[in-house]
């Protein structure tokens, strides 16, 4: 105690100079990253904010581009389809989050065991995640076919023919759920890998100590594994939510936002406005709004999870 107290003031001045020097070094090291971020993230964002306040068309037109103030935002907010699409991605997120993260967590637990063909299994489970989403969509599109696609045949067989064929992608009540199924299956490998890394990060000594204390496997899971994975859970939840809000590819390929707007998402809505209807200003307004929404959600999630001492 005394030793520390005497040594601190003695080291005080040179330490400060060193801190200063370190600060410069650190700044120099993040400078390239910051420069790239400024060019590829910050500038485009500011530009899109500016574009959102004009009637800029996608391609140059004979009529002049005008500054229209907040007109585009007003139109977005008064378009019922925008609210539908926002509701749809929320629905998608709420469904896909437990499904995808749960699946990832369970497979990670399974693959963390010392199995003889562990690496092969890990590879197999990860396979969907490295398959292109476009390919996955085309394949699942065939599986979903109505009325005699493979999935309907399986359902019919398992239910002994009592369940009528389901129009997976053509029925407004089913379409979003079908997309949830396919998305969770395609992407859970990514979360699984993060969970695996998290599991491997928990020190083996903690388990040994628990074992010596006579903790059962279940108790070891609750009191060692789960607390050890807290930061992983937070990361996985936040990243999955953000990804879920950007839902686009599946919708673009399989349902184009239909049937009856049941799978229209914010990004799909934006692309439709920007590329099909060639209203770049309007699409920019949507992108700015989406950015703010995602930012708010991420902040909120962080705050909530902090409260639970994660």
């Amino acid at each position: 105690m005394t030793l520390q107290q005497t040594s601190t003031p003695a080291l005080g001045r040179p330490a400060k100079r060193r801190d200063n020097k370190r600060l410069w070094q650190e700044m120099a090291m993040i400078a390239p990253a910051f420069l790239l971020m400024a060019i590829f993230l910050i500038t485009p964002f500011l530009l899109s904010f500016w574009t959102a306040m004009t009637n800029q068309p996608l391609v140059p037109r004979p009529t002049p581009v005008r500054f229209v103030g907040l007109l585009n935002f007003e139109r977005v907010f008064t378009d019922p389809l925008f609210w539908t699409s926002l509701w749809n991605v929320t629905r998608f997120t709420v469904w896909v989050l437990p499904l995808q993260c749960g699946l990832a967590f369970l497979t990670a637990l399974l693959l963390h065991q010392k199995l003889p063909i562990q690496n092969l299994l890990r590879g197999l489970f990860f396979l969907p995640a490295i398959t292109s989403m476009v390919v996955v969509c085309v394949i699942w599109g065939t599986l979903f076919q109505y009325p005699s696609g493979p999935l309907n045949q399986i359902v019919g067989f398992l239910s002994g023919g009592t369940i009528q064929p389901i129009d997976w992608l053509g029925d407004p009540n089913w379409a979003m759920f079908s997309i949830v199924l396919l998305s969770a299956w395609q992407a859970y490998g990514f979360q699984m890998i993060i969970y695996l890394a998290g599991l491997q990060g928990i020190p083996e000594e903690l388990y040994d100590a628990a074992r010596i204390d006579g903790a059962s496997a279940l108790r070891r899971f609750w009191h060692v594994t789960m607390p050890g994975l807290r930061p992983t859970h937070v990361f996985v939840l936040v990243i999955t939510t953000i990804q879920a809000f950007k839902l686009y590819t599946q919708v673009a390929i399989l349902t184009q936002g239909g049937p009856n707007e049941s799978t229209e998402t914010v990004v799909h809505y934006m692309v439709r406005a920007g590329f099909e209807e060639q209203k770049l200003g309007y699409a920019s307004a949507v992108s700015v709004i989406l950015f703010v929404i995602v930012l708010l959600i991420a902040l909120l999630q962080r705050k909530l999870l902090r409260r639970f001492d994660v």
Binding site: N55, V59, P60, R61, G257
Partner: protein, 430 residues
């Protein structure tokens, strides 16, 4: 080290030199869409043209059908417009208004221009200056296909010409009867399987609505509100919604072949002329071709297809025109088009197409074009018009409220026109 640097410079210099040598040929970029068969046909014509004109290099750029207009916009943004582009006729007004296309009359062989049918001239003409901006071998139409066996089973009257097309009462009556007939799962296939975001919706369903007195937009004032969301349109779309509700229409997710698939689950099909090739190959004489039904007082059918234009920025418009003339006269291209039951847009091609001649199985489609065809609104706002309409149709077919969906669509269209200051000089066309 110096040596290595030197040799690198030499190598790149040599590369540039050979590249420059290759550039000595005039390169003509041709952007197009199409099924694999058409893509091959175009490629073969390009190869033959190159063989006949060794100083020209034809570079074919394929863009998928469903994303074609978006791809084209990207090319405009990147200032990489092709010399020749294939375009869907209803988008012509938008392209010409935006300044992408040049008038082609002086660039195309005169005998080809004289050979064009009236509807072909119409689809390539810009309504403001009445000049020709695009030319094609073909035009198009939609007819009603019927399964002869089923129609005979319910004792349906089979129309012999456009003038005695089914009325709405007859049509709905037959759908009702067919829905109860053994072996028929769906009375009609309207090709919802093409998807909910394709031009098919506006192209094929628009005429039924127009027949009922509706239209996508008022063609004089260029306003959609009051027309697209008017009573006639709401009634007509509610009628179509009703067909879907009753289970009469093949759903989107069942593909586009239910008319001739095993067991032939669909009894009727409202399909494009090109569908005849597939259906007749599978069903032989069991296919009947009929005119589209008259929903209201008059029959209406669509026209317009993918045609060829030359971009305003082309540096070699003469050569581009020469290639187009070569393409449209090419024998093998025409032969291939025939196997696809292509709808003739040139008189000489029509004469060589027994399908469409008097008494031919598709003669009715040809007759329809001259008697009942109405083009889609030739207005620069067309990309928004069709996109808004597609969205409304999807909503309505899946149980949404017709009035609400059409009001939203009309509002969207009018906003777009307003944003572009009325697309002058279209705002003066009253």
């Amino acid at each position: 080290m110096g040596n290595r640097l030197l040799s690198t410079i030499f190598a790149s210099a040599a590369l540039v030199a050979t590249a420059g040598f290759a550039e000595a040929k005039t390169v003509i970029h041709v952007m197009h869409q199409g099924d694999p068969g058409w893509v091959k046909a175009y490629g073969d014509v390009a190869a033959r043209f190159e063989a006949a004109n060794p100083d020209v290099d034809i570079e074919m750029i394929y863009a998928p059908h469903d994303a074609y207009n978006e791809k084209f916009s990207a090319a405009v943004m990147a200032k990489q417009l092709p010399d020749i582009m294939e375009l869907d006729a209803p988008f012509l007004a938008n392209y010409v208004w935006s300044g992408y296309l040049q008038a082609v009359k002086p660039l195309i062989d005169k005998d080809l221009l004289d050979d064009m049918t009236d509807s072909n001239i119409a689809q390539g003409t810009y309504p403001i200056d009445k000049d020709l901006y695009a030319i094609g071998l073909t035009d198009s139409s939609v007819v009603l296909y019927g399964n002869k066996k089923y129609l005979e089973a319910i004792g349906a009257r089979i129309p012999k010409s456009v003038d005695d097309a089914w009325t709405r009462e007859e049509f709905e009556g037959y759908l009702e009867k067919l829905s109860k007939l053994e072996g028929v799962k769906w009375p009609i296939d309207t090709f919802r399987g093409y998807g909910i975001k394709t031009e098919w919706i506006t192209y094929a369903y628009g005429p039924l609505l127009e027949s009922a007195g509706c239209d996508l937009i008022d063609r004089k004032t260029w306003k959609a509100s009051g027309t697209l969301d008017g009573e006639a349109c709401v009634k007509a779309l509610t009628m179509m919604q009703d067909w879907v509700k009753k289970g009469w229409v093949v759903p989107t997710s069942s593909g586009t072949n239910q008319f001739y698939a095993e067991g032939q689950p669909a009894a009727l099909a409202m399909g494009g002329h090109w569908f005849y090739a597939e259906a007749s190959a599978a069903m032989k004489d069991n296919v009947v071709v009929m005119p589209l039904p008259k929903i209201g007082d008059k029959g209406v059918s669509p026209n317009g297809t993918w045609i060829w234009g030359i971009s305003a920025t082309s540096e070699n418009p003469e050569i581009a025109g020469k290639f187009l003339s070569f393409l449209l006269k090419d024998k093998d291209y025409r032969e291939y088009a025939k196997t696809q039951s292509a709808y003739p847009g040139l008189k000489s091609f029509a004469a060589a197409s027994p399908l469409y001649a008097e008494g031919g199985p598709l003669a009715i489609a040809f007759e329809q074009a001259s008697k009942t065809a109405i083009a889609r609104p030739p207005h620069p706002a067309y990309p928004t018009i069709t996109s808004a309409f597609m969205q409304a149709v999807d909503k309505i077919f899946n149980g949404g409220d017709a009035q609400e969906a059409l009001t939203a669509a009309a509002k969207k269209i009018d906003e777009d026109i307003e944003d572009n200051a009325g697309y002058p000089p279209f705002d003066e066309q009253q």
